[in-house]
Amino acid sequence: MTTAIDVFIAFCVLSGSLLVLTSALAMFRAKDALSRINVFSPATGLGMPLVIVGCYVYLLQREGFSLYHLFIGLVGFASLIIVSSIASNTLSRATLLSGSPVHRYTRPNRLAYARGEDPHVDGPAAMHEPDEAQVGDEAQVGDEPRGDDPAGN
């Protein structure tokens, strides 16, 4: 039983640290600041909570159950997810407001253009940004450029 718990703690701790390392390596692959903020979320949303779980189980094995430890662990787990999400949202808003360039392949870029006014979008088929639910319906997507064309071209 003790071995199984040790393996569980090792799994939590090592996978949490590997997620943080993966996020750090992904910073090189992301092309703009918004994408970098996006690829950081596995570290705070999954990596550090896994470290908390491993830490709590380790403490449970060492010192037994304690209501205080359970409370601290639960609040830390929830706050890592909630607080870091709010922080990422605030930082990405500030990044965009400060004029940081968005990568040119970011489409649709609804932060820069109103719907249907994106000049980089090719043709009316792409102008109607298809909802994810309708993409599978090929007949409906195929009919859309001819049927609904607000620009008239």
Binding site: A10, L14, G16, L18, M27, I72, V75, T90
Partner: protein, 86 residues
């Protein structure tokens, strides 16, 4: 278990090193801010591992306080980026 904790410390340290290299090579301030956040959380992970290695009973308190207060640095950097505007 000692080997596991040292391995995790090494992985966190590599993450910090990779992040610092990225800070040096990044051009925009938003990237630097978010990589600073990454280095912060990796440092918290290292502190937790050290606390587990040395059997200090405050290991959960460290993560608890740092996860609650980690937002302050990020929001301060975000405010600096926008020159005080919301």
């Amino acid at each position: 278990m000692t080997f596991v904790f040292w391995t995790a410390i090494a992985i966190f340290a590599v993450a910090i090193g990779v992040g610092l290299v990225r800070v040096a090579s990044a051009k925009d301030l938003g990237s630097r801010a978010i990589i600073g956040d990454l280095v912060y959380f990796a440092a918290i992970g290292i502190l937790t591992m050290i606390a587990m290695l040395t059997d200090i009973s405050i290991m959960l308190d460290v993560i608890f306080l740092s996860s609650l207060l980690g937002i302050l640095a990020t929001i301060a950097l975000a405010r600096i980026l926008t020159r005080g505007h919301r």
